[in-house]
C-alpha cells in the first residue's frame, strides 16, 4: 500500500500540525457533492423486491405490479433523491421485470449482464474522452445486486445458480431469502447452509463484508456467517404494545420486520446501508469495473507491453489499430469489386447458354410441327377417299332402294285395286 515504501523514513512530529483533519475535509467535500448508490434487484415476479426497497429506505417508491406473461426479461430503473440529516443520496433502484416467468429461461441472465456492461461501458467512454468531467458524471454502475431467493426450503433453483454464476465477476452479489416468514427457524438454518454450500461448490463468488478494517471487522465477520439474509418486507404498520411497527399481521401472529428474532432485515439494513455502502461502491470501481475495462481494452487489441515486453503507449496502439482498420477496409473493397466482376461474367455466360438452348428447342418444335402437319394431310386425304367411296356406295344403295320401293308401290297398287 501507500506506506510500504522503504525509501521514505518515518518522521516524528514535535507538535500538532493539523493534517488529522484530512478525513473531515474529505467527508465535507463528499457530503457537499452528495452520494450516489445504485442497487440492482433480481428476483421472480411478486417475490417482494419493491416492497423490500420501500422498507429499507423507509419510503414509497413508485411501484408497478408486473405481469407474469412478459416474453423477455426487462430491467426497470428508477432514480430518487433522498436525504437523511445533511447527507444527500441519489439512489437508483433497478428491478428485473418478468424474471423467472418464461418457459425457457436460458437467455434470462443475458439482459441483466448486458445492462451491467452498458453502465460500465458508459463510464469507460467517459474516462476515455478527451474532454471529460468525471467528477460531474452521474455514475450509473451497479454497486450492489440483491438476489432474491424463493423460500422453497430445499435449495437454490437452477435459474438462480446459472444467473449468479454469470454475474459474480461483474457485480457485488448479496443473496437474500425473500418472504422468509414462511420458513421456520430450523428449516431456515438448514436452508442457509444448503444455499451457501451450493454456491461454494459451484464457484459462485458472492460479496463478502470486508474484514480488513479493524473497526468493522468483528461485526462484518459475524454477519458474513448469517448469509444469506432471510428478509421480510412490509410498509404496513401494526401496533405492538404502544408502538406502531412495520409488520405483517397473520391470524396466528404478527411478524415484525425489525425484530431480529423474526428475520434478518435489520442485519441487511445495517450491512448494506450503514456499514458497507461505501465499500460496495469502492469494490465496484476498483474490482468489477477494472476487470471490465481490462477485458474490453484487451478485446480492442490494446496491450500494456508489446511482444518485446517494451511498454506501449495508448496513442501508438491507437494509431496501429487505425492503420489496420483502414487497410482492412481497402482489402474488403477490392474483394467486393472482384466478386462483382466475376459474377457479371458468369451471368453473361449463363444467358448465352440459355439463348442457345432456346434456339435449339425452337428448331426442334418447328420440325415436329412440320411432321405432324404432313401426317395430318395424309389422314385427310385418306379420309376424303373414304368419304367419296362411301358417297358412291350411298348413291348406289339409294338407287337400289328407289327401285325396290318403286316395285313395292306397284305391287301395292296392284293388290289394292
Amino acid at each position: 500500500g501507500l506506506f510500504q515504501d522503504k525509501n521514505a523514513r518515518p518522521l516524528a512530529l514535535s507538535g500538532h500540525v493539523g493534517f488529522d483533519s484530512l478525513p473531515d475535509q474529505l467527508v465535507n467535500k463528499s457530503t457537499s457533492q452528495g452520494f450516489c448508490f445504485n442497487i440492482l434487484c433480481i428476483g421472480e415476479t411478486g417475490i417482494g423486491k419493491s416492497t423490500l426497497m420501500d422498507t429499507l429506505f423507509n419510503t414509497n417508491f413508485e411501484n408497478f405490479e408486473s405481469s407474469h406473461f412478459e416474453p423477455k426479461v426487462k430491467l426497470r430503473a428508477q432514480t430518487y433523491d433522498l436525504q437523511e440529516s445533511n447527507v444527500r443520496l441519489k439512489l437508483t433502484v433497478v428491478n428485473t421485470v418478468g424474471f423467472g416467468d418464461q418457459m425457457n429461461k436460458q437467455e434470462s441472465y443475458q439482459h441483466i449482464v448486458d445492462y451491467i456492461d452498458t453502465q460500465f461501458e458508459s463510464y469507460l467512454q467517459e474516462e476515455l474522452k478527451i474532454k471529460r468531467s468525471l467528477h460531474n458524471y452521474h455514475d450509473s454502475r451497479i454497486h450492489a445486486c440483491l438476489y432474491f431467493i424463493a423460500p422453497s426450503g430445499h435449495s437454490l433453483k437452477s435459474l438462480d445458480l446459472v444467473t449468479m454464476k454469470k454475474l459474480d465477476s461483474k457485480v457485488n452479489i448479496i443473496p437474500v431469502i425473500a418472504k422468509a416468514d414462511t420458513i421456520s427457524k430450523s428449516e431456515l438454518h438448514k436452508f442457509k447452509i444448503k444455499i451457501m454450500s451450493e454456491l461454494v461448490s459451484n464457484g459462485v463468488q458472492i460479496y463478502q463484508f470486508p474484514i480488513d478494517d479493524e473497526t468493522v471487522a468483528k461485526i462484518n465477520t459475524a454477519m458474513n456467517g448469517h448469509l444469506p439474509f432471510a428478509v421480510v418486507g412490509s410498509t404496513e404498520e401494526v401496533s405492538i404494545g404502544n408502538k406502531m411497527v412495520k409488520a405483517r399481521q397473520y391470524p396466528w401472529g404478527v411478524v415484525q420486520v425489525e425484530n431480529e428474532n423474526h428475520c434478518d432485515f435489520v442485519k441487511l439494513r445495517e450491512m448494506l446501508i450503514c456499514v458497507n455502502m461505501e465499500d460496495l461502491r469502492e469494490q465496484t470501481h476498483t474490482r468489477h469495473y477494472e476487470l471490465y475495462r481490462r477485458c474490453k481494452l484487451e478485446e480492442m487489441g490494446f496491450r500494456d507491453t508489446d511482444p518485446e515486453c517494451k511498454p506501449v503507449s495508448l496513442q501508438q496502439t491507437y494509431e496501429e489499430k487505425r492503420q489496420e482498420f483502414v487497410g482492412e477496409l481497402q482489402r474488403r473493397e477490392e474483394e467486393m469489386r472482384q466478386t462483382f466482376v466475376q459474377r457479371v461474367k458468369e451471368k453473361e455466360a449463363e444467358l448465352k447458354d440459355a439463348e442457345r438452348e432456346l434456339q435449339g428447342k425452337f428448331e426442334q418444335l418447328k420440325r415436329m410441327h412440320a411432321e405432324e402437319k404432313s401426317k395430318l394431310e395424309e389422314k385427310r386425304r385418306s379420309l376424303e377417299e373414304e368419304m367419296s367411296v362411301f358417297s358412291k356406295r350411298k348413291a348406289a344403295t339409294e338407287l337400289l332402294q328407289a327401285q325396290f320401293f318403286g316395285a313395292q308401290k306397284k305391287k301395292k297398287k296392284k293388290s289394292s285395286s
Binding site: 421472480e44 415476479t45 411478486g46 417475490i47 417482494g48 405490479e65 408486473s66 405481469s67 407474469h68 406473461f69 416467468d101 418464461q102 418457459m103 425457457n104 429461461k105 436460458q106 424463493a150 423460500p151 422453497s152 426450503g153 430445499h154 435449495s155 437454490l156 433453483k157 437452477s158 435459474l159 438462480d160 445458480l161 446459472v162 425473500a178 418472504k179 416468514d181 414462511t182 421456520s184 427457524k185 451450493e198 461448490s201 459451484n202 405483517r248 399481521q249 397473520y250 391470524p251 396466528w252 401472529g253 404478527v254 411478524v255 415484525q256 425484530n259 428474532n261 423474526h262 418444335l365 415436329m368 410441327h369 405432324e372 395430318l376 379420309l383 350411298k394 339409294e398 332402294q401
Partner: protein, 369 residues
Amino acid sequence: MTTNIRYKSRFMKSEESEDKQYVGFATLPNQVHRKSVKKGFDFTLMVAGESGLGKSTLVNSLFLTDLYKDRKLLNAEERINQTVEITKHTVDIEEKGVKLKLTIVDTPGFGDAVNNNECWKPITDYIDQQFEQYFRDESGLNRKNILDNRVHCCLYFIPPFGHGLRPVDVEFMKALHEKVNIVPLISKADCLTPNEVKKLKDRVRDEIEHFGIKVYQFPECDSDEEEEFKQMDKELKECTPFAVIGSNTVVEARGQRVRGRLYPWGIVEVENQSHCDFVKLRNMLIRSHMHDLKDVTCDVHYENYRAHCIQEMTSKLAQDNRTDSPLPILPLPTPDVETERLIKMKDEELKRMQEMLEKMQQQMHEKDQ
C-alpha cells in the same frame, strides 16, 4: 312365506312401509355398502408443481402418514437440465374396516429446469398410457382382473409468491384439463395475510376463466339436500382455489397436540380453518368427493380418450382401404401443349364427320317417307 316375515321384521322401519306393500329393495344401499367394504377402494392421486412448494408435506398431512421417508432431493446444479420423471407410491390404508389402495403419482423435476418447454409432456404421456392400458384391458377377452391405474385427481400447486398464474401453470393446466380432474391449490399459504389470500384467489379464479382452463367442478347439490349441507357446499365452492399449508411435525397449541408449524411469532395450525383451507381440501378430496372424482375420470375423461382412440383407428382404417384398391390409380402424364393441340384438332374433325353422318341419315330417313 317364512322368509318374507323374517325380512319384514328386520327392515321395516318407516311408517310408510307399514302401510304400503313392502318389497324390500330399500335395502339396496345397505347391500351396496356391504359389498363395497368387502371389495375395497382404490384411488390414484397425482401431485404436480415445482419443487419446494410443499407437495410431499401436504400429501403426508392429508393421509396422516409418511410416504417420503427415503427420498433424495437434487441440487440446483443437477436440476439445470433435469427431465420430468414419474414416480409412484402405493400404500394400503384402512379405516373402520374400509380399505383403500392409495397410489400417489409424483412428478419430480416439473418446472425445475432452466428450459421448461413442454415439460408436461411426460405427464400427459403417463396419463394417456394408463388410459390406453385400461382401454386394452377393457376390450380384452378376460376381464376378471382389470387394474385401474387411471389418475383420478391431480393436485396442482401454485406458488403463493407471485401475483397469479405463470405461463408454466397455464400451459400445464391446459395440457391436462381434458385428461384428468385438476384441483389447483395455493401452496405454502402461510406466507399470505388473509387479504393477500383473497386477492390471490380472486386473481387465480379470473385467470383460470380467462385462459379457458377447465378445472374440476364440484357437482351441484341435489335440491332436496339439507340447508346446512347446501350452505357448506356453497362455501366450499367459493373458497377455491384452496390455500393450503402442510406439516410433518406435531406441535403444542392451545393445550392440544396438533399438526402445525412453529414460528417465533406464532403457531400455524394445519387443521385450523381460520389459518388455511386444509380441512376443506381434505373433506372435499377424501370425505365427500373422492368417488365423484373417480366417476368423472371414468365417465368423462376416459370416455373422451376412448372415443378419440376409436375415431382415430377407424379413420386410419379408411385411409388404408383406399391405398390397397385393386385398380391403382396411376397419375396420367400431363400432355404437353403440342399434343393437346393435335388432339383438339382431331376431336373437331371427328365432330364434323359425325354431323355429316347424321345429316345423311336424316336424308335417308326423309327419302324413305
